[in-house]
């Protein structure tokens, strides 16, 4: 084209200023205006009172002095460095996620780094080597970032722009998490190492086994929810495939399992795992309640996961299976290569939602005598004369911790959804 096209006309202004917005949305009629005013007064009054309590009256010393209990329970102090190493592993993974899904994980990685920085420099009692290990998270997020190659469709990040073109061949060489398989292996290795570090191995110096009873606080909520979800994914997929299968016995068995588990509250399952199931064990078999809780939560979660997976697979367009058959793929190949991957992608938001509710549900393990974050909060208040009046501070803190985790999860899930193009054909 030689002639330059006339500039496209601009869209009409959509904003009519703050006043216009207010008039349109909050004061569109006399009744609306009244409701707005009343609600605004209530809101200001509420926020003011809460704020003055939080910043003036409340006494937060209980949180600071009991922080380790809330975070890691009765985990032995000599093993704290092992938990710090676990955090470092998580940092590397976060850096990897930041690079692979910049929109989804960047703020998450920043937030994690900010928390580590805050705790690392906060003026409270903490061993200098623990502080150093916490601060080491910041460079390790960067390391994870650099170990992952830039996605083909992303523009160079600020880090690379600073490093300049001289460094980019070197950067390419260190980017070892290049294929999906390697990323999965990295995640898997990190998970296994985390378990080993947290629980310890008998006979390895420095890695003394930790009494499972001592696991507690936020750590046990996160561990149970995370391993519950991770382990329930393959089980749930198996159950969903069984439910879709044409073998009647397999199908009925899967349906019964799923419906029975979904029909029973988690707290009942926990009770049975603790008090009824052991009746069927041989006498000398003594499984710790932490593992029983883990297994129970996994089973509970699998039933829901199975229904999610089934729904996700049912939502795959029937034309996909027809195309697969027309190409000569067998039914099982169609299921594994076409329907299941698309079904799983469909349910990423549902899986995160399930993780969030499972994470909150893990606070029920107090029922079989475990000291999770909520129970630890209760004990720290009621078991100590000094803090007997600080229940409000403690429970507000606990609520905030749960909220921060759940909110960041749903945030990251919405972004990953966008990055993977869920709902796009």
């Amino acid at each position: 084209m030689t002639a330059r096209a006339a500039p496209a006309p601009l869209p009409p202004a959509t904003t009519v200023g703050l006043l216009g917005w207010l008039r349109q949305n909050l004061f569109s009629s006399r009744g609306n205006g009244a409701v707005t005013v009343v609600l605004a007064v209530v809101l200001v009054w509420f926020v003011f009172n809460l704020g003055s309590w939080v910043f003036v009256e409340a006494d937060w010393t209980v949180i600071i002095s009991r922080a380790p209990l809330y975070i890691v329970g009765l985990y032995p102090y000599e093993g704290y460095w092992r938990l710090c190493i676990c955090l470092l592993l998580i940092s590397v993974l976060l850096g990897m996620a930041w690079r692979a899904w910049p929109n989804a994980a960047r703020r998450f990685a920043f937030g994690f780094g900010a928390v580590m920085l805050f705790v690392g420099v906060f003026p409270h009692e903490m061993a200098p080597d623990h502080r150093a290990l916490l601060l080491l998270n910041l460079p390790l997020i960067g390391l994870g970032y650099l170990l992952t190659p830039r996605p083909a469709d992303a523009s160079p990040g600020r880090l690379e722009a600073m490093a300049g073109s001289a460094l980019s061949p070197a950067l390419e060489r260190v980017a070892i998490f290049s294929t999906p398989r390697r990323k999965v292996i990295a995640v898997f290795v990190a998970l296994v190492l985390t378990m080993i570090l947290i629980l310890g191995i008998a006979g390895v110096p420095g890695l003394d086994p930790v009494n499972p009873q001592d696991l507690g606080g936020l750590m046990i909520n996160l561990l149970l929810a995370f391993f519950g979800i991770v382990c329930s994914l393959p089980i749930g997929i198996g159950l969903a495939l069984g439910r879709r299968s044409s073998l009647p016995i397999l199908k009925v068995a899967c349906v019964i399992f799923i419906e029975v588990i979904r029909g029973v509250p988690l707290i009942t399952l926990l009770f049975m795992s603790r008090h009824i199931l052991p009746l069927t064990f041989p006498e000398d078999l003594n499984i710790d309640r932490v593992y029983l809780a883990g297994i129970t939560i996994t089973i509970f979660s699998s039933a829901y996961m199975a229904e999610n997976v089934r729904g996700g697979m049912a939502a795959v367009h029937p034309g996909q299976a027809e195309a697969a058959r027309a190409l000569g793929l067998r039914d099982w190949q169609n299921t594994l290569l076409i329907t299941l991957p698309q079904g799983l992608r469909n349910i990423i938001p549902a899986i995160v939602g399930q993780f969030i509710s499972l994470f909150k549900d893990t606070s029920l393990v107090y029922f079989i005598g475990m000291l999770d974050l909520v129970e630890m909060g209760r004990v720290s208040v009621q078991g100590n004369q000094e803090f007997i009046d600080n229940g409000r501070e403690v429970y507000l803190f606990i609520a905030l911790v749960f909220w921060v985790f759940c909110f960041s999860m749903s945030f990251i899930s919405r972004r990953i959804e966008g990055a993977l193009g869920v709902g796009r054909r």
């Binding site: 367009h317 996909q320 027809e322 000569g328």
Partner: protein, 270 residues
């Protein structure tokens, strides 16, 4: 590779088949034989008593009003629908419930759908190499080389690493053609391949089909692109209410239809 009409064939044609393709149409063997085929959905008879023989290398265009059983008919040829009465024989293989027969027939027959039905979670290259690797057990490098050759044929080799959603409709449909050809079929089925496309993309898909027809591929196309039919079809089949009403060369269909229903329908759409 065999050559027909001076155009390099899209798929490998065995020497004996190539020899048959060199003969004039009426002296070739029947690659598709349908005898008195019926299909019901519940009580509703979607295809009734259709008999049709298609020669190797022949192009048959199928047309007719919506709901007349065109899709159901061609979907029976690769067993996406099961025929309930009558007989279907594909390149000498009888269509039965025997899995081995079905596998053999699906290897012979490729299909292109109205809605493309590309696999959205794998790249264009992955879409094309999947079945050759999993069904024909080609090594990956060979499958990829084949895929690139086919993408070049349909004119979009530069899109190999993209995902289907990143392509235009016309490009997606050309990928779907390449994907079907990668299984080296002897017969290609098209079910309204251009109906979901914007007008400016129809031509690029029809061009790819035209070129395929010139290589001696046997094709059954459901389409209402009458210009394409006039130019490419050896015969045209008019379906109405599940029955094959008229079957003849384009010249007869367009200029001298033997059945009133054919004439009526053509008057409506032309």
């Amino acid at each position: 590779m065999a050559e027909t009409n001076g155009v390099q064939a899209a798929v490998d044609i065995p020497a004996d088949k190539a020899e048959i393709l060199a003969r004039p149409l009426e002296e070739r063997d029947d690659i598709v034989v349908c005898e008195n085929v019926h299909k019901w959905f519940g009580d509703f008879c979607a295809v009734r008593d259709v008999s049709m023989r298609v020669k190797r290398g022949e192009v048959v265009v199928i047309f007719g009003p919506s709901g007349s059983g065109k899709s159901t008919f061609i979907r029976m040829i690769n067993r996406l629908e099961e025929h309930q009465q009558g007989r279907i024989v594909i390149d000498g293989i009888e269509m039965t419930n025997d899995v081995r027969n079905l596998d053999a027939i699906r290897r012979e027959v490729g299909m292109v759908f109205q809605q493309f039905n590309l696999f959205p979670h794998i790249t264009v290259l992955g879409n094309i190499t999947l079945a050759p690797q999993r069904v024909r057990h080609l090594p990956r490098s060979e499958a990829e080389a084949l895929a690139m050759r086919l993408l070049e044929r349909v004119g979009i080799p530069e899109q190999a690493q993209k995902y289907p959603a990143e392509l235009s409709g016309g490009q997606q449909q050309r990928v779907a053609i390449a994907r079907a050809l990668a299984m080296q079929p002897q017969i290609m089925l098209f079910d309204e391949p251009t109906s979901a496309l914007d007008p400016e993309m129809i031509k690029e898909v029809l061009d790819a089909m035209r070129e395929l027809a010139a290589t001696g591929m046997t094709m059954l196309c459901v389409t209402h692109e009458m210009g394409f039919a006039r130019e490419v079809a050896d015969r045209m089949a008019f379906f109405d209410e599940g029955a094959l009403v008229e079957l003849g060369p384009p010249d007869q269909i367009f200029n001298n239809p033997q059945e009133d229903r054919t004439k009526l329908f053509l008057d409506q759409i032309l």
